[in-house]
């Protein structure tokens, strides 16, 4: 990983993309991301393939060499958005009711009967949250927290925050009410927030060692 990263830093995008080691690693990360968003192996494969082809065609014109991965990921996100918009993936949130009660309970458990924080759940200040962004272990925690969310909630959250869909478009596509959309996003954020706080931002002294 580290070696491939070094090479992408010094090569032109076209060279980097023709380097099998770089490409393999890039593809792996892209597939993982696409699979997460589309939840369909064949569609994820298509999105990644199309993104790599588009990148190869445009590589000569791309100048920010160090940001190769960021650039390719922005192409990939657009491909994923296209696929979701085309409705190739028939999304159904029919089972959303199953998630509702447990997620409601989780949020209710954070507050006392009068609607104020319980002592244990009151959010504490995160120290140096930006430092986490450069830490690989942090991203493993982030993924684990994301994984813990019920699938439907995670899907709405990712459409909103990773793919940048407007809430109104999400509601229309998934055939849910605006209010439901806001509730789902609230649950996702509250869930991720406490998970990150519990497992990273206050997980004890040894989090960076």
């Amino acid at each position: 990983m580290a070696r491939a990263q070094t090479r992408t830093d010094t090569q032109s995008p076209a060279d980097a993309l023709s380097d099998p080691a770089v490409l393999t690693e890039l593809r792996r990360d892209m597939l993982r991301f696409a699979q997460m968003q589309l939840r369909d192996a064949a569609l994820a494969e298509d999105a990644v393939q199309e993104a790599i082809e588009a990148a190869l065609i445009n590589a000569a014109r791309h100048e920010g060499r160090a940001a190769l991965k960021t650039w390719i990921f922005s192409i990939l996100r657009n491909k994923i958005i296209d696929i979701l918009r085309r409705g190739a993936r028939t999304v159904s949130l029919s089972s959303i009711g199953d998630d509702d009660s447990t997620e409601d309970e989780k949020i209710d458990a954070l507050f006392r009967e009068n609607g104020h924080w319980t002592k244990q759940s009151r959010p504490t200040q995160w120290t140096a949250p930006d430092d986490a962004l450069g830490n690989k272990q942090f991203w493993a925690v982030f993924e684990a927290c994301l994984d813990r969310l019920p699938e439907n909630i995670a899907r709405v959250f990712m459409m909103r925050e990773m793919l940048g869909f407007e809430t109104s478009e999400i509601c229309t596509q998934l055939e849910i009410t605006t209010n439901n959309c806001h509730v789902i996003l609230y649950r996702a954020r509250a869930g991720l927030r406490s998970c990150l706080e519990g497992n990273w931002f206050q997980a004890g002294d040894c989090r960076t060692c």
């Binding site: 609607g115 104020h116 009151r122 959010p123 962004l133 450069g134 982030f142 996003l185 927030r193």
Partner: protein, 69 residues
């Protein structure tokens, strides 16, 4: 006066739609007096930043790699 539960819900919704004046004022009032909700609101912004960074593909090639190679 908002409860913390209502205030957190508004902090989240503020990321998805423009709050009306009344909502904004009551949220501000609440946050002035509540450290828990102040932290929550701030963390909503961090969470958005974290998630966008993740989606930009930078997650698995963080500085950690560069530091240890």
């Amino acid at each position: 006066m908002l409860t913390c539960k209502e205030a957190t819900r508004l902090s989240s919704e503020a990321l998805d739609r423009e709050l009306n004046l009344r909502e904004r004022l009551s949220l501000r009032m609440h946050i002035l007096m509540c450290t828990g909700c102040t932290n929550f609101e701030e963390q909503m912004r961090h969470l958005r930043k974290i998630t966008r960074r993740y989606a930009s593909g930078e997650a698995s090639s963080g500085d950690d790699d560069r530091d240890h190679r």
